[in-house]
Amino acid sequence: MNTWLPKVSTTYPRLSMDFLGEAPVVYHCHHFNLYLDQTIDDALGPDEGLALRTRAARGAAYQLLSSVYARLGALSTSEKLEIAHELFQAMGQGRLELLGDKHGGIAHGEYLHYGFVWREKYGTTVRRTHPADAVAAGYAAGALAAIYDLPANAFDVTETRCYAQRAERCRFTLEPAESPGPLLGVAGRGPIIETTSTGLPGGRREERILTIEAGLREHLAGVRPDERGLVQAFGVFVTRHMANYYNRLAFDALSHVKARAPRVQPMLEGLLRESGHVCVFHTFGGILNSPEWEGLVGRPSSDTCDVIDGSVAIARALGFGRWTIEECDPGKRFSMRAPATYESAYYRALSQPSTHPVSYFMQGAAMAIMQLANAVDWSGEVRLDHDFYLSLFKKGVPWKVEQTRCTAMGDPFDEVVVTAL
């Protein structure tokens, strides 16, 4: 394990939020990562989508690395470069080799999370026309700027070869930015903590959930990337990712659609929700169905509340916020609250109040938790594969979800409610 990593890691147990340096981080699986990127490209078009994703990753990586460097004190340029390489790999993003100086450079990538998992999931059915690794590209540009104490937008970066487009490995070029463009907002640890209430009373079955969360966090602390720099666990590829990347994408895509095609804003919101739904179904389902879970908690029972308790604990352990169970009427109604989600906290920390609820991940997650609790027979062999996932929609989804409170709108907490149709 990197000896410096614990020194830059902070967890706020009362909020179930995690930070590396000043950057909020969450665990997310490849289903979520691919789906969110795809949704951004659907909303903005492939060229603008790629540009936004790259800029968002650059800004988030710059915040991450510059704050990590500041936390660790005096570092040489070569030490900063090594930390940038190690941190990328520690986050399960693959292997990135950055070769450059204050004038620019190149980077090579192998087993980069996005390109690799895209090819794994879609490579046999869809031909990719645009490079997939905006996160690695933006990380390389943000890292080079942070290493040389330059502004976050000092470098433009282009992925010139991409594994998802059948290249052997990925390649990036970094050049001084011709027109640097605006710095995209990133939310830092201080403003997030200051604007998030810790006064939310506990929900149902808190003692049990806290126990499971603690056990899971202990387990996750021992998870390491493999030799590829990837984390493959519970049937998914997992990243420990920069929440500012996700939040910036959703924020800008919503702004774009509101301005240019407001009639289809519900589609964007539906797809953002689906990102959460597909993620939670596969990742939470994979964890609930794993031998590790059986050892830690026991096999999920046919009691729906059992699966819901476990899911809420998983969400907390992955850094999604201190979700609590407000109501649980099996098969009929389920509601959760949180003092903030990583999405709503972004709006508050940047003083960008919203006129509509923004915790799309939590909305999709709540639906998926209802699916896991009610549509899966945990008493027998459980196969949570893609075919099973699609079959849930063929039968028709018998629930609807609504976010009834949102801290980004000034409410004291976030709340989502799932009800039977």
């Binding site: 659907d42 869809v126 009639r263 289809v264 589609m267 797809l271 689906e274 597909v278 699609l390 063929k394």
Partner: protein, 192 residues
């Protein structure tokens, strides 16, 4: 075609495990027969067979090698499948066990087509709008079909309720939708 008609056409032909007749150009199941112990999804299978014939036709035309006599042979781990155009409106897919000798299969398919062709109706095919067929093609091949219409809507800016009534779309919107379909599937053109 009445089931008895198709069953009678199969008659004494040995080793046949199933027959699917697909109406073109919409790739819809027209008729089928399968052994009682088979449990194939008839409508999906017939549709994919239609798509395969169309793709094969395009490929052969691009090679300058197409003729109406062409047929597609597929060997899987347990099936030997022959796809053949009966006429411009119908495609037949005949499924045999993989152990069946290929020569016998070809002979029996020829015999079967000769029997089926006269009892198929002559259709006045009313082509549905290309945009409708494009959307159906997308639903068949999109990796995440459950949400793909939302993606089309978001890409084109056309609300989903209008996409559901695609026949009524303007030419400009129909073109935008076909572009979205190609984009989602990563295709340069659609063989529909």
């Amino acid at each position: 075609m009445a089931e008895a008609g198709l069953q009678a056409a199969i008659g004494d032909i040995p080793a046949v495990r199933g027959v699917f007749i697909t109406a073109m150009p919409d790739c819809l199941l027209y008729d089928m027969w399968m052994r009682p112990n088979e449990a194939w999804g008839a409508e999906d299978t017939a549709t994919y067979f239609g798509d395969l014939i169309r793709a094969n036709r395009s490929a052969l035309k691009s090679l300058g090698s197409w003729s109406s006599e062409m047929q597609v042979t597929i060997e899987s781990s347990d099936l030997l499948i022959i796809l053949k155009e009966i006429n411009e409106h119908f495609v037949v897919g005949v499924l045999f066990g993989v152990q069946t000798p290929l020569g016998m299969v070809r002979l029996n398919v020829k015999k079967l087509v000769q029997r089926i062709a006269p009892i198929l109706p002559s259709l006045n095919v009313e082509d549905r709008p290309r945009v409708v067929r494009a959307l159906e093609f997308l639903e068949r091949y999109a990796p995440d079909p459950h949400a793909v219409m939302m993606r089309v809507s978001l890409q084109t800016g056309i609300p989903q309720d209008q996409i559901q009534n695609a026949e009524a779309l303007s030419a400009e919107d129909a073109e935008a939708i076909e572009e979205a379909v190609k984009n989602i599937l990563g295709l340069d053109h659609l063989s529909i």
